[in-house]
Amino acid sequence: MQVESFQYDNKTVRNFAIATIIWGVVGMTVGLWVALQLVYPTILNLQPYFNFGRIRPLHTNAVIFAFVGNAMFMGVYYSLQRLLKARMFSDVLSKIHFWGWQLIIVAAAITLPLGLSTAKEYAELEWPIDIAITLIWVVFGFNMFATIIKRRERHLYVAVWFYIATFVTVAVLHLVNSFELPVTLFKSYSWYAGVQDALVQWWYGHNAVAFFLTTPFLGLMYYFLPKAANRPVFSYKLSIIHFWALIFLYIWAGPHHLLYTALPNWAQSLGIVFSFMLIFPSWGGMINGLLTLRGAWDKVREDVILKFMVVAVTAYGMSTFEGPMLSLKNINAVAHFSDWIIAHVHIGGLGWNGMLTFGIIYWLLPRIYKTELYSKKLANIHFWLATLGILFYAIPMYWAGWQQVSMWKQFTPSGQLKYQFLETVTYMAPFYAMRAIGGILYLTGAIIGMVNFFKTMSKGTLEANEAAEAPALEKTYKKHDGEHWHRWIERKPTPFLLLSLVVILIGGLVELVPTFLVKSNIPTISSVKPYTPLELQGRDIYTREGCYTCHSQMIRPFRSETERYGEYSKAGEFVYDHPFQWGSKRTGPDLAREGVGNLKKSNTWHYNHLEEPGAISTGSVMPSYSFLIDDNIDTASTPLKINAMRTLGVPYEANYANKANADLMLQAKLISDDLQKEGIKVAPNKEIIALIAYLQRLGTDITKK
């Protein structure tokens, strides 16, 4: 057999490693800032660009797509080449992938504080960036599949299977969820509305957790954990079984984010069943990881890399136990919308993704730099700061969540709600402060790690092209000269199939989505009418400011909620909501019926509250939105927006776009006159007027006859 000499590309691995470290520290710093905004709201909210609602998405996007994303690519580029005994297919594609991804991150870091947001969680980036993500993702996938095709190792190790699943599924999720109608260069409306949008969003949202944060990292675990421990994985058979089980189950779990909402019950039940079953493959992976260390626990005591990995796998086990439990209706009824969920996701994020990432970097950097780690002691300090950081973060938040929900749901003996919402907010302050301490610990650890990594890099020299040798893959066929390039792909059924799947899906979606979705958006409640132009502009301000990061618009059918917020939400009320704004967290109260019943407030109240929330509600953690008083409504966009909505099936009459601004000014004048009566002078064309109009509209439809 002919032994071939080739070289592994370590430079791309190194580049992704540096990006991981830097973006990690940046993303965590923004996270700490966001956390502290809830403790010092008046000092740390710098309106408009750095208000909570705008930089909370910056934090989530940075840690998911910049920190974990780059870590994934770092690990994949390192392990894939070695598992397949082949250099990455194309250095040019690797370079495009690396720099393209960094550009996307920079674009996100600029556009999110500017308020350019689709207001769909973890998919906030606007349509031009969505297209860029698609292109770069395809570059990554092509580079990976082409490497698989020219591999020298016939057997695909389980990690490679995880990488394949990651690529295919994330591509599909991103395409389906990002289906949006551009209105201007940086504004689009989700193609779906209301319940449908919610379902697509959380189908995407949960699978982003599954296929961006979990499957690639399981692949990495199956490579780097055995490597670091220098022993084979506990059961290769188990790894194969749990891989196939995991990917078949995960894709159905999304609706557990929408339990007790206006989503049809059967869809909720479907989500619950699959979510619960997920505990088996998830724990299969966790057990397999931990048992790999059987008989080697003495190594864990000595080796800081293994310590990182053990905590990571343990955190994975904990959050994948908690996940199925939280998917049960009775538990979800309590935990949903509360700070419990924040603790849950940080066990996964800081524990599973963070600790595994750091473990991998500590293992891999000295190897590609042909040197020793700069300081084992600093690495140990990093480990303990990170581990304590996770505990100091999670425990106060679990406690806070429990306390918060108990207060939300508590009644007095006479049947009144015992606590005002604001009381539950002020009660959270010490917990939020404690959580920030956990964040400081974890971030300090990461910075110490960063110093250690850079010192290690300057100590050694990068072996950009690492020599390797392997026998060529035995051909099962004989290639003849001058054959067409296509013959090459025809012999590789799997990659060909997967690539064509993506192509087919794009085509299919473009055909399918518009035709039957627009039709099914037809209202079922006759009193529900489209938003007026002013309300529509106000709604766009609501989405721009990220109000959904703290306020839900979904009243679940519990007495504790209907007493506090009014009649429970109906599916038919959201048919014109592109995008839906149900939210997932109640740092502030639900706003679904802000405009009716006992929640209805005067225009003056809204004006004063938006200008200075703390002055109206003492102890409020809401940022000030006084800039809305100065900024003008972008009336030039009104006709475009009305026309876009018409395309999406919202029944504005033909040519309404031309009259829309006249109606807008008429309604704005009424509000500004009303404010004037109370001595507030504000021109009708100011943004605050539009936002007030939208808030006053919320939930009013079903009370109209």
Partner: protein, 59 residues
């Protein structure tokens, strides 16, 4: 709820793709050996270019 039809179609297509991949992998013997792959990944013999070449030439 038209979108659920879309999601189910998309999900089934993805699952179907994985099913075909699974069948392919079984057929081509990817799953036959459920032990050595786990050991093989541990051996990344570093290639010392000069030394190795010399040994090979001797053989």
């Amino acid at each position: 709820m038209g979108v659920i039809v879309l999601l189910i179609i998309v999900s089934v297509v993805v699952a179907g793709g994985f099913l075909i991949a699974f069948l392919w992998s079984v057929k081509t013997g990817q799953m036959e050996d459920d032990y050595t792959p786990s050991v093989r990944i541990l051996f990344d013999t570093e290639v010392k270019l000069t030394a190795n070449r010399a040994i090979k030439k001797k053989k």
